[in-house]
């Protein structure tokens, strides 16, 4: 997401680089370009207007016009203005209330409420160690309750049954009681999708809201939404007094303008991004980083955090210990490294967050990650443990067998062995103090990364491809 907007804005701003002072005309042209870029990214018109107004006022100030590096100054201005709209830092869910903390999810049809409910439940269970109950108040869409039940089973949440014959407000009230009895920490209340112009339905959700008085009321909105985001966000915010926003389907190629619109119009923070079909594809939203990403600076911090979360710490430590001892980086290590990378959404997911990588077409990324990595893992799987430990024993007939076993060609086996050889060399270098240096660099990037929690090839080192 955000790539197209990124491209457009950085192109506009780049035109300013290398120029001397900015004239008022220059500012006006740049602002026109930015206006078009934002509108093309589906930012709602009123939001664009106030954004441009904000930048214009500052850009025409004396300080700015005197700046000798107008490109840089403009980047900073746009960046600051974006940050100002998006909010400064991530705002987490506020769970500081008497348990069970009720959380209400609302939104239009098909925005992704039920999937988000499941993802949120999983996040609270796994990362916050909460006891979570979910309940569905959708008595209209066929099999909506069934859908939540299936998902609840998958993520290990307690499912509070409801039936389509009940009144939504009663379902919510009963669920709150049940959650209290079953000592749950959090109650997630999923609701039916509704149009903001449907007064009866809006009255219904106000009633649910009144009955459970949720501590958090999240508005779930599709990242692909266009100009209408302005109308719906305003209407829901007025009806429900939202506390936060969840932006869904951000893994597509939408330009993400809805994030800006909804944030600006409701004044409420975007708390999470939904970014995939798996139930763990829900990330806390970091506005500052997104603003940088929009301007093409990459989201390295998110990357570091993701690596930290998904890399199996034990395996990583084992690898580091092994390397410290000076023993080799064998094919088993190579494989576990590739598997860990796949866990992080593969190379495609990583590249997305690196500066300048946004221009690669998605299908190229997908091919890189799926085909190559899977093939390499298959090749290693076809080896005996001895071969994995001592790759040097792999000669002609063994290669033939391995190629057959993994359904590949001998050339692919050769390629893998060669890559592994290179990796091994690199690892050796790092073993002799290089690793420590690299960790230090990473540590600066983010203070909380523990020493040794980073396998060489994960993100900082050379990719194995």
């Amino acid at each position: 997401m955000f790539e197209n907007l990124t491209e457009r804005l950085s192109r506009t701003v780049q035109q300013l680089r290398g120029k001397g002072r900015l004239t008022e005309d220059g500012v006006r042209d740049t602002l026109r370009e930015i206006r078009i870029a934002l509108l093309e990214a589906d930012v709602a018109l009123p939001v664009v207007q106030s954004f441009i107004q904000g930048v214009r006022e500052k850009a025409l100030g004396q300080e700015f016009l005197k700046s000798l590096t107008p490109g840089q100054a403009m980047v900073k201005l746009v960046h600051d203005e974006l940050v100002q709209i998006m909010g400064v830092q991530n705002e987490a869910l506020d769970l500081r209330a008497q348990a069970p903390v009720p959380i209400l999810l609302a939104g239009l049809q098909g925005s992704g409420k039920t999937t988000t409910t499941a993802k949120l439940a999983r996040l609270l269970i796994e990362q916050e160690k909460k006891r979570v109950m979910v309940v569905s108040c959708d008595v209209y869409r066929p099999a909506a309750i069934e859908q939540l039940k299936t998902l609840a089973d998958q993520v290990g949440a307690i499912f509070q049954p409801s039936t389509a014959g009940q009144k939504p407000a009663d379902i919510a009230k009963n669920a709150l009681r049940a959650a209290r009895q079953q000592m749950c920490d959090v109650l997630l209340v999923d609701t039916a999708g509704r149009l903001h112009v449907d007064e009866e339905m809006m009255a219904e959700i106000r009633q649910i809201h009144a009955v459970i008085s949720p501590h958090e009321t999240l508005f779930v909105v599709d990242a692909m939404t266009g100009q209408d985001a302005a109308n719906t966000a305003a209407a829901f915010n007025q009806a429900l007094d939202l506390t936060g926003i969840v932006l869904t389907k951000t893994d597509g190629d939408a330009r993400g303008g809805a994030a800006l619109s909804v944030r600006q119009i409701t004044g409420k923070p975007v708390k999470f991004l939904g970014s995939g079909e798996k139930t763990d594809a829900l990330q806390p939203f970091h506005p500052e980083r997104v603003a940088s990403r929009i301007l093409g600076m990459g989201d390295v911090l998110s990357l570091v955090e993701e690596v930290h979360r998904k890399v199996d710490q034990k395996k990583a430590e084992k690898l580091v210990r092994k390397m410290r001892r000076g023993s080799g980086f064998d094919l088993d290590d190579f494989r576990s490294q590739m598997e860990q990378m796949q866990n992080m959404g593969g190379l495609g997911g990583l590249m997305d967050k690196l500066p300048g990588m946004s221009n690669l077409p998605d299908n190229v990324k997908a091919q890189v990650e799926n085909h190559q990595t899977r093939q390499m893992i298959a090749i290693i799987n076809s080896m005996t443990p001895q071969e994995r430990r001592f790759p040097d024993v792999i000669r002609g007939s063994r290669k033939k067998r391995i190629a057959r076993g993994s359904g590949t060609q001998i050339q692919a086996v050769n390629r893998l062995l060669k890559q592994h050889g290179q990796m091994q060399k690199m690892m050796k270098k790092m073993g002799k103090g290089g690793m420590a240096r690299m960790m230090k660099k990473m540590g600066k990037l983010q203070g909380q990364l523990p020493p040794g929690g980073f396998p060489g090839g994960g993100a900082g080192g050379k990719m194995p491809f």
């Binding site: 078009i36 509108l39 093309e40 990214a41 589906d42 709602a44 018109l45 239009l108 049809q109 098909g110 925005s111 992704g112 008595v139 209209y140 869409r141 066929p142 099999a143 909506a144 069934e146 859908q147 299936t150 998902l151 998958q154 039936t163 389509a164 014959g165 149009l195 903001h196 112009v197 449907d198 007064e199 009866e200 339905m201 219904e204 599709d222 692909m224 939404t225 266009g226 100009q227 209408d228 985001a229 302005a230 109308n231 719906t232 389907k249 893994d251 597509g252 190629d253 939408a254 330009r255 809805a258 995939g276 079909e277 798996k278 139930t279 998605d362 299908n363 997908a366 091919q367 799926n370």
Partner: protein, 330 residues
Amino acid sequence: MLRIFRKNKKKPGEVQDVQLRPAEQSGQDLLEKRLEDTRRQLGKRLGALLSNRSAIDDELLEEIETALITSDIGVQAALEITGNLQAAISNKVITQAKQVLPAVQAELYELIEPCEQFLHIDEAHRPFVILMVGVNGAGKTTTIGKLAQRYKEEGLSVMLAAGDTFRAAAVEQLKSWGDRNDVPVIAQGSGADSAAVVFDALQSAKARKIDVLIADTAGRLHTQANLMEELKKVHRVMGKLDATAPHEIMLVVDAGTGQNALNQAREFNKAIGLTGITVTKLDGTAKGGVLFGIAHELGIPIRFIGVGEAAKDLRPFDAGSFVNAILPID
């Protein structure tokens, strides 16, 4: 990508009966009236601008540009249209304020009218196979339910194929629609191969001499290469039983979608070749202006628009009233 939901094979459960939304119970009239109101507001505003003066001024042009942009028509298209308008004014082709709106309307109408092509169920093909595709949450399953009722009421025999084997309870959702309309639904457990379900359904529809077979598929973002491949497979497999099937490949688009809908249409079209579009959720304040872009670039026929919860609210696309909703003349 691993898709963990798919591993969870599960027998389809019991179908739940659901409640009608208040708008369905009370008939559609109330909701429709409210919609009229929101649309008329824009018409009034434009009308007021016109009645106060006979000369054309910037305020009027700006108001038109705003109306176009907020309809999701796309900023380039909006600028082009207002640019043409300005040219026509300076060339004295348009001299009076009251000529402005009709001129823009005509331009919009011309753009989208070629796409007003009703979906004709060709009796030469039996079953006539409709494959529904689209991104997550566009409204595929609901549209299928409404289509099933529509064709059933026309006296055709209808069968549904539960090709969305991925999303939890999607099979049950479709079965519920089938039960409501007394239409058979061919399904396997969730986690089954979508192509296999569709193949099964086509075989069975042929055997039972069904008139219309509507196949559901899982929602997928058009950027996911693997899932687009899966869709091609569904298409291929059908061809083994009937070389002409599917006879309609219908993209379902949410009217609230912005410029991304153009990418969706482009990518789905590239993958399996679309023959029709249905626009859902036009009963809110979303205008679906991005359809102009799709019409301009791809020219895919627009078959139906969804303007409400009830089955009768799935209406054949009408270019004239669509344009009038975007730029109303009061």
